[in-house]
Amino acid sequence: MSGPPARPLGAEARAEIARLVGLYEHRQSALLPALFVAQREHGYLSPEALAGVAEALDLPVSEVASVASFYRLFYLKPVGRHVIQVCTNLACMLNGCAAVVRRFGERLGVASGETTADGRFTLRTVECLAACEEAPAVLVDEDRWARVTPGDIDRLLERYP
């Protein structure tokens, strides 16, 4: 599988996690922000990154991996440069997200959960982006797109080289 080589957590990330630990009463409380720090550094949460977070927080690796697997915004596999997340929950489904997902799939040549061969996009479906009033909602990286129709998709993809 392509993607960044597995490596331990860098010194900068470790220092940032150490800073985060100081902000909370319990070490466990720093787990989510620490996971984001590790993911920013590596692009995804490799087994080594999770082990690094566990060591920095003095938590069992199993607990760190368990928490990371619970949240959709943590990636346990390498992802593309841009991550497209299409909501498929109730409001979005009623407003036609299926067509949006299908159009993304055709346009990128990947199924949900897969990354394009050039490593540019990863397509995922998610449950609820908390934007039901703007259904169907799509999140690309950290940008939220409202009322997306299949026709919008070509233009949308062009914005993310």
């Binding site: 087994p47 999770l50 003095d58 069992p60 199993s62 991996a65 368990s66 697997s69 619970f70 449950e127």
Partner: protein, 801 residues
Amino acid sequence: MATDPAVRTVTLTIDGRAVTVPPGTTVYQAARAAGIEIPIFCYHDRMPPLGACRMCLVKVDRMGKLQTSCTLPAADGMVVSTTDPEVVAGQEAILEFLLINHPLDCPICDKGGECPLQDQTFRWGPGRSRFVEAKRDFAKPVSLGPVLTLDRERCILCWRCVRFGEIIAGDDALKGFERGFTSEINTPFTLPVESKFIGNTIAICPVGALTSRTYRFRARPWDNEPVPSTCTHCGLGCAVWFDVRGGEIVRTRAREAPAVNDIWLCDLGFFGHDYVASGERLTAPLVRRDGRLTQASWEEALDLVASRLRAARDRAPGRVAFLGGRRLSNEDALVAARLFGEVIGTPHRDHRVDAPPGGASLEVAWGLRAPLEEIARGDVFLLVGCDVTEEYPILWLRMKAAVDRGAALLLLHARRLEVRRHARWERLVRADRLAAETGALADALERGAAGPPPGLEAAVAAIAAGRRVHVVVGRFALDGPGGSAVLAAAVRIAEHSGGVLHVARGKGNDIGAQRFGLLPGAGGWPAPEILRRAAAGDLDVLYVAGSDPATAVTDRSAWDAARRGVGFLVVHEAFLSATAEAADVVLPSLVLPEKDGTVTNLEGRTLPLRAAVRGPGAARGDREIFSLIAARLGALFTYGTGDELFEALRAATPGVEAGAILPVAPVPARLAGDVPAGAVAAGAGGGSAELILATIDHLFTQGATTGRCRGITALAGAPHCLIHPDDAARLGVEPGALVELATGHGAVVLQARVTDVTAPGQVLLPRGFDAVSAYALVRWPHAVVAVTVRPLVAAAAGGAP
């Protein structure tokens, strides 16, 4: 019943019956106390309630919805129904829901026949399901290491196994992953599970999601005849059931014993029984003829042994010596002591085969000085050179319970312990610094207000504040350099804190051997001296039973010299061990799961053994062999039944009662060899001692017995040593590469594990791997030697160097 006004109670009505319970009791517990059954899955009485499975629904008056009785505290005047039609409908609905994704593959599931989900579906289930859609589909079965099989489709997500890892064992081995519909129990990345207690999760899993790989498909519960006995691996004497099918132990289960193992076992206990049924068991006596061991009849072998013993005795009784006892029962030890002490009259008997000369192991009686239940109430645990989970796993469960209630765990060792996450203070030192560090801790405590040296503050504060301090000294500390100094310092710490000093030393039935006469008599030699005298030609017959000195003696060359020097070596063995291979006569003996009798655990508690299976071929029990030899020497031991023998034990040692503790001898207040920390033996070429070698204990090993247990052998992995990353980088040792460890006395080749579990400047070598003898590298009187590490280029990567 006497009523104490201070103790308030609550009275509630369950199914029309008034039940009175202490406050804080849950409705479920109250119902159970009253004999009313409520079905449960997630609740387990050794763990706090969770309320995950919803199976225990009850109806409570004036509460709108059905309540989960396992999480609902009983209150005065509460009116509860467990049989209301609403409750029945609720329970049926929950079971129908739990079964939605359950594959119902009971015919091929190992839990079938002893499965709470099966039983409760039968009793409380709806009988049919409305769910016709496709069930959740997982890859199965998934192997999580050598002993555990995971089937996620069967899992009902009760979290018992996860909570066991968090609350009871503290190893967090299994966790929940993903969420919602895709939730699953697993290890991170489905890697082999890392735990010493995982067998317990198999036992408490209420469905067939976690099953044993070694027991897989071997029997149904109705095939098995359970035999209550005692586990004889680590020496804590956990109560077990041996499940026997067709004359073979197919699995071991924990038997409830609140004072010892409660309801738990370690994985060595769970999976360490295969050796009994090994095809390599000795089935006939072997006698050396023309330099080769050949099969002989019992008559011939016993006559030969008796004649050599008689000849030696006639020369001088002291020309016979006896070694061993760890794998003997109390009764065996008693009869052996009578044979050698009374009939032959030699004082040279010792079970402490793996104790080095000059080590503190020979200065003090082995064993715990307080019951396990009292240890569980401790508030400070100082472990000096004792790797509790590797040596006495069930002892750790007691400590874990106390640590969760706020007790302080203090660790002082030459290796990092896997329980260090639970420790308040940890000190990792090189083996040759252990004595100095323990001494410094004792000094700091005694100085009190003067202020402890840096690094010791937390430990000193914890011990000073402790009211029930337990100091545990392990084999590593006792037998390491300056073992006497460690022991002396530990005595000072225990005395200063008013605590208890435990000598965590002894495996199998060592304590029983110590108690029933397998210790040097008046003028007798301890084990190392027996070996030295044997090498010097002072012995005619060396008799070994219940031990394998060739692998256990901590200096291989000392054993080899003893073997060469002694005229006649008799060995009781179940396998053709290294000792048996060198013997003149090998008598095939039974192993402990094949014996009736008793053993003594580390607390000094007398525990029952019951023969689960018959021995192979012509193998005989050790005490029977001793009696037959005694008869040939003119002494008739007339022990009829096991009861008579137990009476003899009680007569020999007043205070011995079945199941009760008779404390081991107290630790002497002043110790003989209170010497400063010993120096390390010089290295191979007289070089600088920059790397030292020390042997450590592992729970999973590859010895004569453990090497013949499939699960244990696989858990142990390849023989390996532990090297610190700094040393590995300096020496060019890659993780997992083969290295040659060489001392002036020998060399071994094994795998290097690069880890900061060991201190810099120190290579740790697990003992108990017979293929790679740690003790070939050691030469007495030094327990720790300088070592050179040479990385070997892997053959595949360009030929041998």
